[in-house]
């Protein structure tokens, strides 16, 4: 069992700072998802945990032991690299079993584990190929396989499913989650896919510009975003943030029941009908199961998620409504109020 702790970890490259004093605690056997916009420092965090980068300041503690100076090999981790880092001259099979043969595992057991992993990832027919003969998604699965086969106590995954189709992805998520539970792995998982973050994580860590913006369970992040950044980042389409002008929606005389500088409402919390706050549909985006309407109130616009089967046209006048519990208030700095 392996817990992971980052204490005041920062990372600079010359002037450029990728991480500013990050503090983080990942419980042993939990599934932690790192989330955040592109370039916010997710991979860097992962690489520091792995021991591939040395933090400029701060400590990395795994299982209570300070491992900041320890080489990766001694940390008992497995990793899926964002860029795969497959060995180009080795076959898929050899890539996957690389770590096993490093540890001198008997060939028979290697073969067995390879078989299992390959089946899990649907790579059975490709074991003799070289990475250059694989499709992008297949390469990614090999990278995943290499990390999974080791069954290391800590598994770091950097967008391991980003190049897979939705279906396979769905399957993989389930398999990963099962595996993690079954083996009691501590997983640190980077993804930009919110559904993934929401459905898999025990803990979501939201990074922004090298700082931890919010850390908590998926529900917490969704239900009580700590800042406008968190509010906008989680949820597709994102939470609507409406500027308030002394309690009214800016540019209108609609009074809302909260104070602060802005009001947040999730598109899916808004019911669309004929009554409620009057708004004008400006734009319709069709998404299959549902559709997203852009509606204007005063000088502000709100996105509203509606059933995909419903018919709606730009220019239509509609009424919007949401429950008080679904309204979030933020102050001028974007921090949550209360």
């Amino acid at each position: 069992m392996s817990s992971i702790e980052l204490a005041g970890v920062a990372k600079h490259w010359g002037d450029a700072a990728a991480l500013h004093a990050v503090d983080l605690r990942i419980a042993s056997g939990s599934f932690c998802v790192l989330l955040g916009p592109s370039g916010c420092g997710k991979s860097t965090t992962l690489r520091i945990i792995a021991g591939l980068e040395i933090p400029s300041t701060g400590k990395v503690i795994i299982d209570g032991q300070d491992v900041t100076g320890l080489p990766p090999a001694k940390r008992g981790i497995a990793m899926v690299f964002q860029n795969y880092a497959l060995f180009p001259h080795l076959s898929v099979a050899d890539n996957i079993t690389f770590g096993l043969s490093v540890r001198g595992m008997p060939a028979a057991e290697q073969a067995m584990r390879l078989g299992q992993t390959a089946e899990l990832l649907g790579l059975g027919a490709l074991l003799q190929r070289k990475p250059s003969q694989l499709s992008g998604g297949q390469q990614q699965r090999v990278a995943l396989g290499r990390a999974l086969v080791a069954q290391a106590k800590v598994c770091l995954m950097d967008e391991p499913l980003s190049n897979l189709d939705a279906q396979l992805r769905q399957e993989m998520r389930r398999e990963l989650r099962d595996l993690q539970r079954q083996l009691g792995l501590t997983v640190v998982y980077v993804t930009h896919d919110q559904t993934e973050a929401m459905s898999m994580a025990d803990q979501v860590v939201l990074l922004n510009k090298g700082r931890v913006e919010q850390a908590g369970t998926p529900r917490e992040l969704y239900a009580r975003p700590a800042s406008t950044f968190a509010a906008r980042f989680i949820g597709t389409p994102p939470m609507n943030l409406v500027a308030l002008d002394s309690g009214r929606i800016a540019g209108s005389d609609v009074v809302v029941g909260v104070g602060g500088a802005s009001l947040g409402v999730r598109p899916e919390s808004i019911a669309i009908g004929t009554d409620g706050i009057p708004a004008v549909v400006q734009d319709v985006e069709y998404l299959g199961a549902d559709m997203v309407l852009r509606c204007a109130i005063g000088s502000e616009t709100l996105l509203v998620r509606a059933d995909g089967q419903r018919h709606c046209e730009a220019g239509e006048r509609v009424g919007l409504r949401w429950a008080d519990a679904d309204a979030h208030a933020f102050d001028g700095d974007g921090r949550r109020i209360a």
Partner: protein
């Protein structure tokens, strides 16, 4: 070329790119080489006696020339020692100075000195190292209480002494190519291997070594050829002596060509040398090239 354009146009482009180099190669290498081949079937012209068709006579002379065979034997021993040692050392050196080792710039320069220093001068310095009584080697062995030895002057050690100099020179030379190749290697592979817990040795064996194959192929072919064409230091160190104990093929060829001025015979040796070398080197190349992973 993977992509599109018409095969024959491709070929034209390729030949155009080769043309300048090939023209010069033909003019200054192949053409003279062919004339050497022709010469080898003629007797050596000597003043009043013009050269006449001699058929295989020069080759027969070679077959019966004990110095030639001695040189062949010496050269095989020389090659057997220089090729593996110089490649092995070059690789070790390159691996070291590729990494953040203490004093890297100095180490790089130290290993590269054999290539920078002119061989004539260097051979004289080695001569001092090997000199009996007060040579460097003697000063060291003397300090250790070992008996004095005439390294270059006794048949048992002359070839070995010459071989050491060759290894010294070659290893530093090849090091630079391995170093360059290592620098183009993808650093994430090292990271992946580090994560998997691979030791440096394991990483070398399973990843670096196979990925260095293009360079190794290059180095191997060159080491092999150099083993048969490195002679500069012989001129100063032993001149093939004592009693041909350290004669190598090319040195023998020089003697025949530029001391004896027996151009016909020299041509015959040249032809045999080139044909054998080319045969083996091209075989090495075309066999290993297929097995080499390039990207």
């Amino acid at each position: 070329m993977t992509s599109g354009s018409h095969p024959s146009r491709q070929a034209v482009h390729a030949w155009l790119m080769l043309l300048p180099a090939l023209v010069l190669l033909v003019a200054f290498t192949h053409w003279p080489a062919v004339s050497t081949l022709v010469d080898s079937f003629f007797s050596t012209p000597k003043g009043a006696r013009p050269s006449v068709w001699a058929g295989l006579e020069n080759y027969e002379v070679m077959a019966g020339d004990p110095v030639f065979w001695k040189a062949v034997r010496n050269n095989l021993a020389f090659a057997a020692a220089t090729i593996p040692f110089s490649i092995g050392l070059a690789l070790a050196m390159a691996l070291w100075v590729n990494e953040r080792i203490a004093g890297r710039a100095f180490l790089r320069m130290a290993y590269f000195t054999p290539t920078v220093l002119p061989m004539i001068a260097v051979a004289n310095i080695w001569l001092f190292f090997y000199t009996p009584q007060y040579g460097l080697l003697e000063q060291i062995t003397g300090a250790l209480g070992l008996p004095s030895h005439n390294w270059l002057g006794s048949p048992a050690t002359a070839l070995g002494a010459v071989t050491v100099v060759a290894i010294w020179k070659e290893a530093g030379f090849f090091m630079i190519f391995y170093l360059a190749a290592l620098q183009t290697m993808n650093p994430s592979l090292r990271e992946a291997a580090a994560i998997e817990g691979a030791s440096r040795w394991y990483f070398f064996r399973r990843v670096q070594w196979p990925l260095l194959m293009p360079t190794t192929l290059f180095v191997l072919v060159n080491a092999f050829i150099n083993a048969f064409r490195m002679v500069d230091h012989l001129f100063v160190l032993t001149r093939g002596g004592p009693d041909n104990a350290s004669t190598l093929l090319l040195y023998h060829l020089y003697e025949v060509g530029f001391s004896f001025w027996d151009t016909g015979y020299a041509a015959a040796i040249t032809v045999v040398l080139i044909v054998v070398l080319a045969g083996i080197a091209l075989f090495q190349f075309f066999v290993l090239d297929k097995k080499t992973h390039y990207q």
